[in-house]
């Protein structure tokens, strides 16, 4: 029973971290049509920024605020300024993806060049804990889950009930139509980069605080699973990313508990392949005409 509870509780915790990042990643792709492969490195940069700006603070609330703000700024710079410059010159699809890979490598190795190959660690803290049927959950983990839920609700409400959300969904569906309706696609995309970056930074600092230490490759390592969650749910669909994250989080923990911890990562990819074989568009995405990256 304890093991089953552990699978569920820590599956949800893993999913919470994945969901925040995956929603940010897929939301940005959905609106801007840009496959941002620098997302993981931006996530790392946000952890570094928070660590440096707050003096290694382990206060989760301060960390989240600084992380989200850092992520928003960095993401806007990357997306609107750098990637935007290439877009205005007519770069498309594969070219833009390569630009984001270049940005990712520059950020990662730039951080390593500044910091060195060593990890950075937070001071040890003793969290308050709560016991749920034999499973011990820390206050930090519980906060992460709650923050993830609130963030997902906020994103959902933004997209469904606000004009901005409507503009984002419209831009994602048909750019020329939104122009005709008086909505500025450029401004909408800028907001998407900001929001995506904020979620990226939030995910990053929660990941860094949760693990207690980080390095210049932390975000890149995490990005692969995060992207898998986004693809699983249907790329461009924030609600799909939430479901994808939950599925991967729980199934990874289940694989570790039932089979072997070595199968944790493999389980995530088996799920992804299995779902895509049955539904190539992902769990929630509508099956539409092939979507061209950065048309």
């Amino acid at each position: 029973m304890t093991l089953l509870l552990s699978i569920i509780i820590f599956g949800v915790y893993s999913a919470a971290l994945l969901a925040i990042g995956a929603v940010g990643f897929t939301l940005q792709f959905g609106v801007t049509n840009v496959l941002n492969l620098a997302f993981g490195s931006i996530l790392t940069a946000c952890i570094f920024a928070e660590y440096g700006l707050t003096g290694h603070s382990t206060n989760i609330w301060i960390a989240m605020a600084v992380g989200a703000a850092s992520g928003a700024v960095i993401s806007l710079l990357v997306g609107h300024v750098v990637v935007g410059a290439f877009l205005r010159r007519g770069a498309t699809g594969f070219g833009i993806a390569m630009v984001t890979i270049a940005i990712s490598l520059m950020v990662q190795f730039g951080l390593e060049a500044i910091q060195g190959p060593y990890i950075l660690a937070y001071a040890a803290t003793t969290h308050a804990t709560m016991k749920i049927g034999g499973v011990v959950l820390s206050s930090g983990q519980l906060t992460t889950i709650i923050v993830a839920v609130l963030a997902m609700v906020a994103v959902h409400l933004l997209l469904r009930t606000t004009k901005l959300g409507l503009a984002m969904r419209a831009t994602a569906a048909d750019v020329s139509l939104t122009r005709g309706c008086g909505v500025s696609p450029a401004r909408t995309r800028a907001v998407a980069w900001l929001l995506s970056g904020a979620l990226c930074g939030l995910c990053g600092v929660l990941l860094g605080l949760g693990e207690g230490s980080f390095s210049s490759s932390t975000g890149s390592d995490f990005f692969i699973t995060l992207a898998a969650a986004a693809v699983l749910g249907g790329i461009g669909k924030p609600s799909g990313a939430m479901i994808g994250a939950l599925l991967i989080g729980i199934m990874s923990q289940a694989a570790a508990a039932v089979i072997s911890p070595s199968y944790k990562t493999i389980a995530a990819w088996i799920i992804l392949i299995a779902v895509l074989v049955l539904r190539p568009q992902g769990i929630l995405a509508e099956f539409a005409a092939e979507r061209e990256l950065v048309a």
Partner: protein, 438 residues
């Protein structure tokens, strides 16, 4: 194809001919200037600087091990050059970053061998890369003095491969011996990362546990760099171990140890030599707090001296290396820095003893300098003894070296405080032999 004219040599523009000839001449000169390490090695009496390569990861998660290699090498080179060098040559220590992955290590090795005409030796220590790179070094006839633990090399047939640290399987037996004779506990949980280096300890631990009557109640091969190991921790604790034996990379360890603490584990944790390093300490302290880390964690590692002429010389050279090394004060007792120090010394002494800087000539002397009649502990002592016509037995910082027919030499082991690196308890050769079933 109509309309295309194929120009002959005679018809080609003079400028093009000149460029072609110039290019060929340049290539020929370059070929003459670049000699292969095996065929065109530096000879005694020349004035070129000889190169010892620290072939290790200097970027990526295993970068701390690379800097250990460089620290030891640089410190040894300082001592050697201060004593006049070797056969009229000064030595230098160069960094060759293999990034810790075979896919990167092989090109890095090939590039190093092709572009280093004065390369006389290699010091390395990454278990996971040895099977890919040791054959290359041997093919190039460059002595490779290794601290890597790949068990395949317990019975090595490579004449240019030398190792002064036991294979990971012996490390595993030592873990079992410490648990049995050092703690008295019998119920063991083995929690190792699923990478090759960490898993190399497991067969020896399992076999040793069987010989010693220990019960491995849980064995986990954990995926690296996960956000949580709570489920794995539940599996471990459900087996009711008395002691946990572990190795993983620093970030994995930080999460694992934090999750163990959160779940209420207050028992002893025994780490392997793979847990040595500033990064592992940082991550573990972040997870447990320094007091708890020092109280509950010991590291089983090859023991090196902390006094005597060899250690004093090493310490002096280390502290004098200043900006060249990352953590001089902290590395005084770091075995992974002391090993390459002795390895570099041995390369230099083998050259002196053979009176040749040609690797193919001095390679057999790497063993001979540990078998002579005059015990020496420093480069200065050795140089004086050789100059007086004596044979030497170099006993350096890491103690007596005794190569078997496979070019392997074991050593002393100890359970050390993870922060101070000072021994808490020695693990005797007898206990290790009992674990091995002898």
């Amino acid at each position: 194809m109509s309309g295309m004219k194929h120009r002959t040599w005679r018809a080609a523009a003079p400028g093009a001919r000149l460029a072609l000839v110039g290019g060929l001449v340049g290539l020929a000169l370059a070929a003459c200037g670049t000699s292969s390490p095996s065929g065109g090695s530096p000879s005694a009496g020349g004035s070129s600087t000889l190169e010892v390569a620290a072939f290790s990861p200097f970027t990526g998660p295993n970068a701390p091990y690379g800097y250990f290699q460089y620290t030891g090498c640089v410190s040894a080179v300082r001592v050697i050059n201060a004593a006049g060098g070797v056969l009229g040559h000064h030595l230098t220590c160069t960094i060759v970053d293999n990034r810790g992955e075979p896919a990167d290590a092989v090109p890095a090795a090939n590039n190093m061998l092709a572009s280093s005409p004065h390369l006389v030796g290699i010091v390395d220590g990454d278990s996971g890369l040895m099977s890919a790179t040791v054959p290359l070094f041997n093919q190039a006839h460059i002595p490779d003095l290794s601290a890597g633990g790949d068990v395949q090399f317990d019975t090595s047939s490579y004449p240019y491969f030398w190792r002064t640290t036991p294979g990971d399987d012996v490390a595993g037996y030592t873990l079992a011996a410490y648990v049995k004779f050092g703690t008295g506990f019998t119920r063991v949980a083995a929690v190792f990362g699923n990478d090759q280096a960490a898993q190399g300890n497991v067969p020896g631990l399992v076999s040793g546990a069987r010989h010693l009557g220990l019960n491995i109640v849980d064995k986990e091969a954990i995926a690296l760099d996960q956000t949580t190991y709570e489920t794995e921790v539940q599996r471990i604790l459900a087996a009711h171990p008395q002691v946990i034996v572990t190795e993983s990379d620093p970030q994995t360890a930080g999460v694992l140890l934090g999750n163990l603490k959160q779940a209420g584990w207050t028992g002893p944790i025994v780490g392997t030599s793979g847990t040595l390093g500033v990064d592992y300490d940082k991550a573990a302290i972040a997870a447990l707090g320094q007091a708890a880390y020092e109280a509950h964690f010991v590291r089983i590692i090859q023991y090196a001296q902390q006094s005597g002429a060899a250690w004093q010389t090493w310490k002096t050279a280390l502290l004098a290396s200043g900006k060249l090394v990352k953590n001089p004060a902290g590395d005084e007792t770091a075995i992974y820095a002391e090993l390459p120090y002795d390895h570099t010394m041995m390369i230099a002494l083998a050259m002196l003893a053979s009176r040749s800087a040609a690797p193919a000539t001095f390679n057999p002397y790497i063993q001979k300098i540990t078998q002579g009649s005059t015990v020496v502990h420093t480069f200065g002592q050795a140089k004086a003894a050789l100059a007086a016509g004596k044979t030497i037995d170099y006993v350096g910082v890491t103690g007596q070296i005794s190569f078997d027919k496979y070019h392997n030499s074991g050593g002393l082991w100890a359970a050390e405080n993870p922060v101070t690196n000072l021994p808490v308890k020695l693990v005797s050769a007898q206990d290790i032999a009992t674990a091995e079933g002898h």
